[in-house]
């Protein structure tokens, strides 16, 4: 049996408590994971400053080189795992087995992470706005005749990671070259990516003392948040609300990403159908950047019907099937609860479930050890029904009829907005809309990210604060 130890500043530690992660379809144990206790996290964090010290002993440019080398190792090498090793193909199979994500999607996410690692120099250049990395290392330096000083807000970044979408790990990949240590709490079903990435980093030469990994339950996540000065957490709306206003915690919750069709383009909606379908469906709709709302002032029924024709018939396939488009729900009861919530939402006046005719056996397909939800398209006659604010971890989209001049006031928080319009006034309003984070103007799928741009806040601004600094010569 594969065993994942805890990593205490790079040193493996086998806990007396282990959690078994099982194959979502067969229930067979795939690995056992050492479980940290919260006190162990608190204890280790007393030495967090050492993580930054060891990273500062390596020039930032060398760390960038190591991360690039890690890209190759992560996606192609046989890396240590348990008592043995793990090939990239093993990784894909194992990750699929415990998360329910089809294997080709695991491979796609792996490539996404490799891309970020490969381009880490460009990403850092962009996120730091071209700052000399030596200034972040030293804390000060002159640039263009101006003294600039940045102070790290923390020696390490704590992260409470999710199980649902391995692509989100891209967010923490630029941290090490910024000479900030990593404190990772993996998602219970997805120990694979944090472990493999860590091993790739170590093999590439990144100091082991810069990384800690603490698998465990919720209280271990709380210990990570409480004992690191800066942290990231992924979670649902309740998590977002709990940490809203806490400047030390960057929360990544549901995206509520949307496509907005301007009045000038909506009559051409058919030419954007592929973009809409891809935005809803890719990665089985699990990501925060997947589209869960399409808004237009007219043609909304036709749009909903056309998307339903494309995604409604999609049925579960085995995870190794290259055509599998749906991920399984592996948490017991989760799919049934979501399906029940949708039933309530579509019972409201003005709401129609357009895909119902494709689902003879119902939206919810229960298997012996897992569940699937069939892709669902819901039409809303106006922004009023509760359905328009829904987002779930599967291909689900509401198509909402709403006048363009009321759209931005009605869409609510939106991580990615793709606005298909050439209307200059609407574009101006979109640029000024503070409820939109990532803005795409033009036919760009919501799931297509430009990695050189910040995601839900610039991580560099989160980890370094600019300040005044003068030194007498």
């Amino acid at each position: 049996m594969i065993h994942f130890p805890i990593l205490r500043w790079g040193k493996p530690y086998k806990s007396l408590e282990v959690d078994k992660v099982v194959h979502f379809a067969t229930g067979e144990p795939v690995a056992e994971v050492s479980q940290a206790n919260p006190g162990l996290v608190a204890r280790d964090m007393r030495k967090a400053s050492r993580a930054r010290e060891v990273l500062r002993e390596v020039p930032a440019t060398e760390l960038v080189g190591m991360v690039k080398k890690a890209a190759e190792l992560f996606s192609t090498a046989e890396l240590p795992l348990g008592e043995g090793s793990q090939s990239p193909d093993d990784f894909v199979r194992q990750q699929s087995a415990t998360t329910g994500l089809p294997e080709h999607m695991c491979r796609m996410n792996m490539e996404k992470l490799r891309y970020v690692l490969d381009h880490i120099d460009e990403i850092l250049l962009s996120l730091t706005r071209g700052l000399d990395p030596g200034i972040l290392t030293r804390g000060y330096g002159e640039e263009g005749g101006v003294m600039r000083s940045y102070q790290a807000t923390t020696p390490v970044l704590g992260m409470v990671l999710p199980s649902n979408s391995p692509g989100v790990h891209s967010l923490w990949l630029p941290i090490v070259p910024l000479q900030i240590g990593l404190v990772l709490k993996p998602g219970p079903q997805e120990p694979w990516t944090p472990w493999r990435m860590t091993q790739a980093f170590f093999e590439a030469g990144i100091p082991r003392e810069a990384v800690a990994l603490y698998p465990g339950l919720g209280e271990v996540g709380a210990a990570v948040l409480n004992n690191t000065p800066r942290s990231l957490i992924f979670g649902g709306t309740a998590t977002v609300e709990q940490y809203a206003g806490n400047p030390n915690v960057q929360v990544h919750g549901p995206g509520f990403s949307k496509i907005l069709l301007g009045d000038d383009e909506v009559d051409n909606w058919e030419s954007h159908l592929d973009l809409m379908v891809d935005s809803v469906l890719i990665n089985s709709g699990r990501g925060c950047i997947n589209c869960s709302g399409i808004w237009a002032s007219r043609h909304t029924r036709e749009i909903a019907e056309a998307i339903a024709e494309r995604i409604g018939p999609i049925a579960p396939l085995p995870p190794e099937d290259p055509n599998a488009s749906l991920a399984a729900f592996t948490v017991p009861g989760q799919a049934a609860a979501i399906s029940g919530d949708i039933d309530n939402a579509v019972a409201e006046a003005g709401v129609t479930e357009v895909t119902a005719r494709f689902h003879d056996g119902g939206r919810h397909e229960a298997r012996e050890r897992c569940d699937y939800l069939r892709p669902t398209v819901v039409h809303c006659e106006s922004p009023a029904p509760a359905a328009v604010k829904k987002e779930y971890m599967f291909p689900f989209v509401t198509v909402v009829e709403c006048p363009q001049d009321r759209m931005l006031a009605s869409i609510g928080p939106t991580l990615v907005a793709t606005a298909i319009t050439s209307d200059a006034a609407f574009q101006r309003a979109l640029l000024d809309a503070r409820n939109v984070d990532r803005l795409n103007i033009g036919p760009i799928p919501t799931i297509r990210l430009n990695w050189l741009q910040p995601h839900e806040g610039n991580i560099v601004d989160f980890l370094f604060r600019p300040r005044a600094f003068q030194m007498a010569s």
Partner: protein, 367 residues
């Protein structure tokens, strides 16, 4: 079978006979109109059977079904006081109580008796007689403060107390006020450090896993340690006291200071565990103070069936004192059934943790 195993089995048989005799005595007491409490006398008047004639031993307690602790919520509290003790000074201890009316139980001398019995399990070299104690944990309406203070006095010492209000801690966690939580914990630890550094010759400590961690970390940050304060023995408890935590504390916090785990709550006495270190894999097995309390591990789906040794089940508690009678109460914990041992010739329970059937709604490890 080894001679030791045979001796344990023989003692287990003797203890079983003693338990049956004690059950008869306790049931006679609680259902005698001259001595019993109004709650059980009223219960018997409606039950349609007479426990005094039908209960001849422990197994017959099955006729009571399962005690529901919801019956302990609200008043009048006097309905729990046995008539024989009506003129005695009565204590009331509360449990839980984060929302709504807390559950309460009455006590006269039970907590003293329980802790005196527990005292016999403490090694004198680690808990020296005559030495002073620090009680660092939840007091308020809980039994713990009086019980630990009595333990200290019973062993000839004086007990210093630092309070912690777990109901406030649970509110802080639920509200997500983590800064307040940290500040409150620091406030509690500040007081402990002050007492420990005041020259009171404190050698024994009661505390909880979270507070022991916080105390050890603070002392270390100050260039000291639990051992440096002069503490030689710690007793702690709770479902957080897992084998992993036991190992972590022994390897990283205690520097050789002796620590003993306990399992208990307001409804029962105090279950002790034989010493457990690396040789035992830090495994913790609790044994109830029979015959005053009996712990069983039962099938969650059929609580009338005790699981086999080594199997997992829900913990079921029966409390049998003349102050308080609790038949077959299903605890909110689960664990594995353990066989009798030399020190405790009756069943034990290991791996105690929140019952998975209801764990999601339970906030544990708050202090």
């Amino acid at each position: 079978m080894s001679m030791q195993a045979a001796a344990t089995e023989s003692r287990a048989g003797t203890e079983r006979e003693a338990l049956d005799a004690w059950v008869r005595e306790v049931v006679d007491w609680h259902f005698d109109p001259a001595t019993g409490c109004p709650f059980w006398l009223d219960w018997a008047s409606r039950a349609g059977w007479d426990p005094r004639t039908e209960v001849r031993g422990f197994e017959d307690l099955v006729k009571f079904g399962h005690f529901e602790d919801e019956q302990l919520r609200g008043g009048p509290v006097r309905r729990w006081v046995p008539r024989a003790y009506a003129d005695k000074p009565i204590y009331v201890f509360e449990t839980g109580g984060t929302t709504g009316v807390p559950k309460s139980r009455v006590a006269i001398d039970d907590f003293r008796t329980d802790y005196e019995l527990f005292s016999a399990t403490l090694p004198d070299e680690c808990f020296p007689r005559g030495s002073n104690w620090l009680m660092l944990g939840p007091s308020g309406p809980r039994r713990l403060r009086l019980a630990v203070e009595h333990l200290a006095q019973y062993r000839g010492g004086i007990c210093f107390c630092v309070d912690l209000d777990p109901r406030w801690v649970i509110k802080l966690i639920k509200k997500g006020w983590m800064d307040h939580l940290k500040a409150y914990q620091a406030h509690v630890i500040d007081q402990a450090i002050t007492v420990l550094s005041a020259g009171h010759e404190i050698k024994c400590l009661f505390s909880t896993p979270k507070l022991i961690e916080a105390l050890a970390n603070r002392l270390e940050a100050d260039g000291s340690s639990i051992k440096d304060t002069g503490i030689t023995g710690i007793f702690a408890g709770g479902t957080e006291f897992t084998p992993q935590w036991n190992r972590f504390a022994n390897e990283e916090l205690l520097d050789g200071v002796y620590m003993t785990p306990t399992y208990g709550n307001t409804l029962m006495g105090l279950a002790a565990s034989p010493p457990s270190g690396p040789d035992e894999g830090y495994k913790i097995t609790y044994y109830a103070p029979q015959p005053r309390a009996v712990l069983q591990v039962v099938d969650p789906d059929d609580a009338d069936r005790v699981v086999d040794y080594g199997d997992t089940g829900r913990v079921m508690l029966t409390t049998l004192t003349k102050e308080f009678f609790v038949p077959r109460f299903l605890e909110r914990d689960e664990g594995e059934r353990e066989p009798p041992c030399e020190q405790y010739p009756w069943d034990g329970v290991s791996g105690v943790r929140p019952f998975s059937g209801i764990a999601a709604s339970t906030t544990v490890g708050v202090y």
